[in-house]
Symmetry: C2
């Protein structure tokens, strides 16, 4: 009982989202704090979700012809110095190894904050001719970025898990063509697995990747009007190729620098998923990535215990080959306590089985996202569960779309922009393309340029909301995590 | 052509195994050196093999009820100091983070050489009662051990990939029972996927894990008489539980320390696989873990090029749903060059298709491990390939068994032991169980006690080969990587 009280969520999502978020992810045993400030433990449920996202993404990468590899965790300091913008962007956050055993190292080694520099050193040795291209490698690993801002588990952690794709092409055209393929994969994964809508667009110069030519992102808009940046794709042009001497002999026997891209999806997605779908009972995990999809809770008295447990086991057996199902037959917790526990953990379906269900060969089934309670017959239970899981997966996405539908406000002037932001919305504004205007808006409203949505660029017209010069882009301004 | 010559293997396996090994793994593009001494790049073929081993092992872990999690890469120095033997064993090899960005850290952070200390800090908070046990978690990650011995790619690397399982039980009995389950999983994976025979046994006191009670291992004996330690399992008793205060309230309402185990399989297995199966043409990769299982090489002249390529594509299409198949239709390499290339890379099956095959609707199929060349009809090609892959997988294991069959010599005295070792064998000897004898033997012969094979302990009798005191164990002594 003490345990139960300890784990209750004491604030409402709509009242204090950030306190709610922390309580939900910690109390549900999704993640935990660790002894290293800013680094969290991914407990089995969170790791399962991440692994499901990883496997789905990886299968699409493989189909697209991308191969996995693994490069060293540690990077010599001299490599970082080769690309100026890159080192300027990352060096404030690098964790440095300076000693091993009892010895001082002669050169500091960085723990990878991203692997461009160590990978491209290999690439420069591997790539000789057009025959070696394209080279499309990916790795799934963890990175360390020792940020000093306030850390938030999953959303802003000093260590996180991700993929980093690093590809090399002979021509700019081929490199640019990869963008839609990769963003398409990420969009599908975030939609179909995490049930997260995304806004696809180009980053501003100020927000682009350190060392790249142009960055693109999928931004997740939340019901409170905040935006979380999701997966991204960077077109690096020949910048790194020049810094790392990645040259090849083309078909005309001339030496050229190659064209490169990089792209990533990270465990931030899990934070976005929690914020989007969770409610005042706790987590709500989309069925396709849930470690436990169905929990069976028997409800019995001393006089029918054996029979109810036997019937529960029969249901478990009927489901176990087609769903990730758990039978909670713990004797020392009440059914009500168990309901709360599994709701907190976000398990998609709860099946309640009591004496009445046993006698009528039926089950009571509760879906977590809408708390809808229905009775179903035992026969066909596996199909029923399958249908309900699919329904929930679809409805989570549809519900997310509805929750953010009116949140993007097209604004015609700066007053409207400020009003939209302070009202908890995204302001979609005309912009001259100049960084000073972008920074002033950020300074004055707290909203940053999240991205320039692809589908809004057809509406470029009139003047910049800030400086009144000719507009060049339509940009979303929003508060962000 | 320069490329081709560069990549040839210039020494024979039977003449200089260590130079052969290096040439094979580097020239076949299996792994590559990196700019960080002692750390290698896992290129796609090696990473694929490792991932296949990982997935097979992981599926068996899940079935056994073990769950995956992820704990931070960095560990505060004070945690290491909690278990004395543990820190003594690992601290000489730890890579320390002392600076982040421009700041000095107030406490050094270790890059995990193994995760007991950071995981058990969490465990001590998570475990309260017998209801929380058993707790069986695993993680797949990389570790750094900055050894100063001569590094050998895969076999002795400063960074390697592995699983680390860390389990907690309420009773010693349950903890001990886990040993056979885990060693059984590892034995199955090494046999069925890597095609590696293993010797299961207990480690000596001197060779056991730093901080554990007893260690067990699977040792891989190679045709040259050297032994490579494979997966291991450590029973830690209550040592770490006491150091990290992992206590629980048992069913009688008493507080007790828990019992723990740890276990691991690592990328060393890939080194053992290369050494066991490779030959003077290059790698030989077991089909179940090969990234490319079948390569189709068309052989054509200008006048039948189009038709031969079309027929090759037809074969590719017939195979692609049931095997990992690659059609090598590069125009600017000769068929002979391609044969060498794919042999070097260890691809299990080569299918040669020329004008004759096209006309007779057949293929020439060459299996890599025995270089057997046969002709098969196009109809039923998918089943043929499947059968041949299965045959190769089985024969690799059988061949490995034969190659080491006579290598374990039971020795009755120290002279026989020395003779066995110098003759490139494993010496299986009676031993008093005292560390000084073990160390003297190592010093005088270069052979270490690899393990005490389970199935040899029934033969304990007579006296220690070194000191002539009563024998307590049968031990394998061997040179090792």
């Amino acid at each position: 009982m003490a345990d139960k009280e300890k784990r209750a969520i004491t604030v409402k999502k709509e009242e204090d989202m950030s306190e709610w978020y922390t309580q939900v992810i910690i109390n549900s045993e999704f993640v935990d704090y660790s002894a290293v400030s800013g680094c969290v433990v991914f407990r089995p449920s969170a790791y399962f979700c991440w692994n499901a996202v990883k496997e789905a993404t990886d299968a699409m990468f493989m189909k697209a012809g991308i191969k996995n590899a693994y490069f060293p965790l540690l990077i010599p300091e001299r490599f970082f110095e080769k690309e100026k913008e890159h080192i300027a962007g990352f060096s404030p956050e690098v964790a440095w190894v300076t000693e091993t055993g009892e010895s001082k190292l002669s050169e500091r080694l960085a723990i990878r904050p991203t692997s461009e520099t160590i990978m491209y050193d290999s690439y420069s040795r591997w790539i000789r001719s057009w025959r070696d291209l394209p080279l499309r490698l990916n790795q799934w690993n963890s990175v360390i970025r020792w940020e000093f801002k306030h850390p938030t588990p999953l959303l802003r952690s000093r260590e996180f898990l991700w993929n980093e794709g690093h590809t090399v092409f002979a021509t700019e055209e081929e490199a640019l063509a990869e963008r839609d393929q990769i963003l398409g994969i990420y969009e599908e994964v975030t939609r179909e697995y995490l049930a997260l809508p995304g806004i696809l667009g180009k980053k501003t110069e100020n927000e682009k990747f350190a060392g790249g030519e142009a960055s693109y992102s999928i931004e997740h808009l939340l019901p409170n009007g905040y935006v979380i940046q999701g997966p991204d794709f960077h077109n690096d042009g020949q910048n790194f190729a020049k810094a790392f001497d990645i040259k090849f002999i083309n078909k005309n026997n001339e030496t050229e620098y190659a064209y490169q891209n990089t792209f990533a999806i990270s465990t931030r997605e899990l934070g976005a998923m929690v914020m989007m779908h969770g409610d005042n009972r706790g987590l709500v995990i989309p069925p396709r990535i849930a470690m436990v999809q169905v929990v069976i809770v028997p409800i019995y008295k001393e006089n029918n215990k054996e029979q109810v447990l036997a019937y529960s086991k029969k249901i478990y057996d009927a489901l176990k080959d087609n769903a990730r199902v758990h039978l909670d037959n713990r004797d020392d917790y009440s059914a009500g306590w168990k309901f709360n526990e599994w709701e907190l953990k976000g398990v998609p379906i709860r099946i309640e089985v009591g004496g009445r269900e046993m006698e009528s060969e039926s089950v009571v089934l509760v879906t977590r996202h809408d708390m809808k309670k229905s009775s179903f017959g035992f026969s066909g239970i596996s199909e029923t569960v399958n249908d309900e899981l699919n329904r929930m997966q679809k409805e989570l996405y549809a519900k997310a779309i509805v929750s953010i539908k009116e949140k993007i406000k097209k604004v015609d002037n700066y007053e409207e922009l400020k009003k939209a932001i302070s009202g908890g919305n995204v302001a979609q504004a005309q912009w001259c393309g100049e960084t000073p205007c972008e920074l002033k808006i950020k300074e004055e409203t707290g909203a940053k340029a999240t991205n320039m949505p692809f589908d809004a660029q057809k509406d470029v017209k009139g003047n910049c909301v800030y400086c009144d010069k000719q507009s060049k882009h339509v940009v979303n301004f929003a508060k962000s995590y």
